[in-house]
Subunit: 710 residues, 2 copies
């Protein structure tokens, strides 16, 4: 095993007079990259986190998670394949998280803990998230304060023999919540509601926590009083006897079974066969049913779905935390892995030094920085809007209407950001995996499990396509409103601009010029869609049909508007950074804006901001800024401040000792001591030693036949 | 359970006077779609397969697979999570496949069987494929006929106590095969080679079949004779004692463990500690080492890597078979699933009737038809080139050089098609999954397992990015050759055209006009890259560096050229179809070409074929043709002729009874009889019944302290 490596001279590297080879050189390469830092890395962490205090707070949370025995992740990826063990482990993590989140933290801080958990074990995050984020938030949002306190008293605040699930989706109804078919029929005689599932398609489906964990469900059902359908309301329905864990009478629950990812959650289906609950288990903050069956409808129907918005907002932040994790793995690996040399027998080139490899990873590193800024901006809008809604009395209809307007703007902005950020990160995970070649396909580097766990984000809590089309409708409506001189929200106010901008010889390396360009193409795209809408209206086409025919345009305007919003957020946000950070952040911001133009070049050409020759310039500039960012690639990923525990991928560890780390992990997970496969005797040996083409010995039969014929 | 559905009037459908609801209507919807067929579906199957006889042959293969007990797929997705069971099952399938492929079929027919297996169990396909496709093909390609016959005699032809693996990739070397570090040092005294692994990074890695199955490996190692390195050659090395299944002396093997998909294959790592093999175990068709250590180098180095090309070619066909499977699932589901109604209380709309949903699925249906045509074209080139190579004597250097030129054209064309087809299908699987909402995320509808199993195709046997850049270099070289008046292959001959084409008022619904446009943008893109290359050359930039700087351009020209090639193949191929099929195939071809322009609009604008206003027309036309194809969507997917066994996704079954099928599958896989989670006593109960904030009773301590203080 001591044969000299001179047989492949491409692998001889001399550092400080000492020889290194393929196997021993990577950590040296990593250290050299780290030494290139042109900015204070720790300060960048503060910038990304939102300040030194936040960083310290975050580190305390991470430390607590990393120390918790339940969170040991040595065998995480192998356990992910073992359904039953995984679910037991996940519940143990729920217990560890519960300790942290019930210690009196604010809602924002609880969300942050859950976001962190989501990066290291999304199943555990979701499993506890359905209780705190959906059930308990739902009860808080749609129940009276007395009702909320009642369920807290039952154990809901600290999971004391209590676990809530969120029974909204049905097998036959997902995005169209208003169409769910489960019924809650008021029985005036007993002052009860009768909850019922009319067909299999009306079974509650995908209900996280239902199969094993939940004692109660917040059930979305159609309120029926005296034969009249009052639409969908929320009801708390006990699902299990908390002493015996048996199902309550009339409740049927089954396991949804295998999923694409997140098998740690016990998603279930639930059917109700005329299950009776007390009248006061209906959530009555806005809608009410009195003892004698008098129905009060809520002032605004949208109030019923508020619990979902916080999830949507946090998914933009999660898009950032997931993207940074996988980008760090791929970029670190690219700085250590060498492949091909440009001269025969010459030193092989690091992946990160190839132009195309830089282009695959580094604009996406800039994208992660942009998502971080966009998420910070979105959280501001979110807390302003929800605080206002919470502080408005349920009886103050005018105040509510005004608060709802804020929430609508929040819905529209968050819809585009949620959709394109979750898609963006799915694409980043996939590109990073491919950038690691075969080692990206290995289970131990996390991409496979990560991708499968991640992509559900594109579907749940607002399917991305549905959200995108909905945000596109809002943008067109804002464009219409501006033409009519009506008020529009802050995010759409740029639509008032003139539509005649051109590059006109200005520099494409000027942030303000790039913002001008992005605002221009977004505004023109929306304006053209408005033109078409007005035309269709004049032709007598209904509003619904007009928007239907503009489907592709709705998608396109949301895509461009959202990208513009992210670029502007990044540009605004970087102004708050310390001077030492500004140069590298400006490079990142320019790279992100320029690369985004390269991808969406056709709108810049169609809407006249750029001319064909400019596109070649854009490509040259993207090369230039990927080259600049490449020099700071390791410091920029180090600034994410993720421990090896968070990374959980041996080729992405801090020390850069990629082959050693990965080989050790593989060997520990699969000790090579067992050379015989366990199915050798049962399957393998019988196959390999089977007999071939034995002609049967028919002589006895033939003799007999001959004798008979005699 | 018999509550009327009138509570949600959106779900009342009346067909022939009978009422149906969410649950009972889907199969009726499917039947109605099927009745719309405007063409003979069976004839379309013949067209797709390449003739009636081929269809019948294919059906016989499918029947044989579906009947084989080893291929029962009832619990396929659940078993995929159970490493050990999965591998035993996969080996049983290898046995069933071996029966079929060793019955005297042609190489093409064996490839087809393996392609079919890949759709239903890619792990089984790959597991047997490493023996037949890589080991045995490798021995055939690089060994003498005596050597090939020797290994056949040892059992290699029919897996008689013999299984070969392909030890090429190392932990530290993947794409750069010429850089592998394993050594094969000739020992003149014993007439043996000594195979050795110098460092951990030189361990053979990802070796399919090594961990459990392989008795022999075809090892890529550097030939060292008298201290001189002659580059990488192939050697057969025995890995296991075939009687005891113990590892041979000096051979270390371990399991690579968990992967992103394909856990049914026992990929392993292999290290050699001075393992000795007879001289004649070196493959000596082209390279040779005589008894006394005289080395003969092969006439052309590329001859060593020929075994990989067939895999690359078959991946284009596999891209089609995988795409059609997932498209069928998503399109069938879209024809049965209803969501939202355009009027309050009105019937909900089928997903397939939404413009945007059509746009997500139907251009990709057209893409699948195009890939089928592209694959047929590629197979023609492949068989011509490989037959020629095989029939040229190893000593005929001139004949070999000419045959190699054909193979080079094959490499270039197949590189682009392999890369963009495998990426295209990965994207199709993902889009189809998302189009099925939550039910796409369920494990039982196959998308998750399918995606993970599929995407390795983007990395192995030529990483897509490496292939794309390599094909881009070839295209630029072809462009240079044309300027110098040199000969170029058939696939590049269109580069001779004039570069001044414009739409000029011609119809965008004319196939010939669209081909003109695609050829134009591809030719201009390549020509501009050639211009830039020539400039760089004049500036004194090295060839390597010039191509490096043109990385993005190389990617772009390959993307556009490959799309053009696919569109042209489709247009040519559909001319061979019967008249009854031409109208719908023409709609598909137009849709594919138009949609491709919409995606790549910027090059059509940059290179002057289209003007900005044309892009809006393209969008209108894409809407028009998705609308036309939508009417035939079910017949067009039925024509793929896939049984429910192949589909293996209850929401994609032929009968369209989506909810019933899916609920039954979920329930069968997870019988709801067990209401208590298996970890209730060990994890759940202790957590839920833990004590909170019990202030400890310190009275005894306090008394004592008080006493002491007295």
């Amino acid at each position: 095993m001591t044969k000299s490596l001179s047989t492949n001279p491409a692998n001889d590297v001399v550092i400080d007079g000492k020889k290194y080879n393929t196997f021993t050189e990577p950590p040296k390469a990593m250290a050299a990259e780290r030494a290139k830092a042109s900015f204070p890395v720790r300060e960048m962490t503060y910038y990304l986190d939102g300040g030194e205090k936040v960083t310290e707070y975050n580190e305390a949370v991470w430390e607590q998670l990393e120390r918790a025995p339940a969170f040991d992740n040595t065998d995480y990826y192998d356990v992910c394949g073992d359904h039953e063990l995984l679910r037991a482990r996940t519940l143990a993590k729920v217990g560890a998280i519960a300790e942290i989140v019930t210690d009196g933290r604010s809602e924002r801080d609880i969300q942050k803990v859950l976001s962190f958990v989501s990066v290291i074990d999304p199943g555990a995050m979701t499993r506890i998230g359905v209780h705190f984020g959906l059930f308990l938030n739902g009860v808080r949002g749609s129940g009276t304060s007395e009702q909320f306190n009642y369920w807290v008293g039952e154990g809901a605040a600290n999971l004391s023999n209590f676990f809530g699930c969120f029974c909204m989706t049905e097998l036959g109804h997902g995005s169209n919540v208003a169409g769910v078919e489960t019924t809650a029929t008021f029985d005036r005689n007993t002052e009860e509601f009768v909850i019922n599932t009319p067909t299999i398609a009306a079974s509650k489906w995908w209900i996280g926590g239902a199969a094993h964990t939940a004692t109660h469900g917040l059930v979305f059902a159609r309120l029926i009083v005296d034969g009249k359908d009052y639409g969908v309301k929320n009801f708390v329905v006990p699902l299990r006897d908390r002493n015996t864990w048996n199902l309550m009478p009339g409740v049927s629950i089954g396991d949804i079974g295998k999923k694409m990812g997140r098998d740690g959650i016990d998603n279930g289906w639930v059917q109700f066969s005329n299950v009776r609950i007390p009248r006061l288990f209906m959530m009555m903050k806005y809608a009410k049913v009195s003892k004698d069956g008098k129905v009060t409808q809520p002032p605004l129907a949208q109030l019923a779905y508020g619990a979902l918005i916080s999830g949507r907002v946090s998914m933009v932040y999660d898009s950032y935390t997931w993207a940074r994790r996988f980008l760090t793995i791929a970029i670190r690996y690219a700085c250590c892995r060498r492949q091909f040399s440009s001269s025969p027998g010459g030193l092989e080139t690091k992946l990160i030094d190839y132009t195309f490899h830089q282009r695959r990873l580094l604009p996406r590193l800039a994208y992660a920085y942009a998502m971080n800024a966009g998420s910070a901006e979105l959280y501001k809008i979110y807390f302003a809007a929800t605080d206002r809604l919470a502080s408005t009395k349920p009886t103050d209809k005018e105040g509510l209407q005004s608060a709802i307007d804020d929430v609508k703007e929040l819905f529209s902005v968050s819809a585009g950001l949620k959709a394109f950020s979750t898609w963006g990160t799915a694409q980043i995970i996939d590109e990073c995996r491919q950038a690691c070649g075969g080692l990206g396909y290995s289970g131990y580097n996390g991409f496979g499990q990560g991708y499968n766990d991640w992509v559900v984000q594109c579907t749940w809590e607002g399917d991305n396509n549905v959200l995108t089309l909905s945000a596109g409708r809002s943008l067109i409506q804002s464009g219409l409103a501006i033409r009519k001189g009506e008020h529009v929200g802050a995010a759409a106010s740029y639509l008032k601009r003139e539509l005649n901008a051109k590059l006109n010889g200005r520099s494409l390396e000027d942030l303000n010029v790039l913002i001008d360009g992005w605002e221009h193409v977004s505004a023109v795209g929306i304006s053209q869609a408005v033109d078409r809408y007005v035309e269709l209206e004049k032709e007598g086409v209904s509003q619904t049909e007009a928007f239907e025919r503009l489907s592709q345009q709705r998608y396109d305007v949301t895509r461009v508007h959202t990208r513009m919003y992210l670029i502007k957020s990044f540009f605004e946000n970087l102004k708050t950074a310390s001077p030492a950070l500004q140069p590298v952040l400006t490079d990142l911001a320019l790279l992100f804006a320029l690369w985004s133009i390269e991808i969406d070049a056709s709108v810049f050409l169609r809407y006249g901001f750029l001319e064909p020759k400019d596109i070649s310039t854009i490509t040259v500039l993207v090369n230039k800024y990927t080259g600049k960012v490449r020099e700071q690639a390791i410091p920029l990923t180090d600034a994410f401040n993720q421990s090896d525990f968070v990374i959980n991928a041996p080729i992405g560890n801090y020390n850069g000792d990629v082959y050693n780390n990965y080989f050790a992990k593989t060997k520990a997970a699969n000790p090579p001591i067992n050379t015989h496969p366990p199915y050798y005797d049962s399957v393998m040996k019988p196959f390999f030693t089977r007999k071939f083409n034995d002609d049967p010995d028919l002589s006895a039969l033939e003799e007999e036949e001959a004798e008979e014929n005699e």
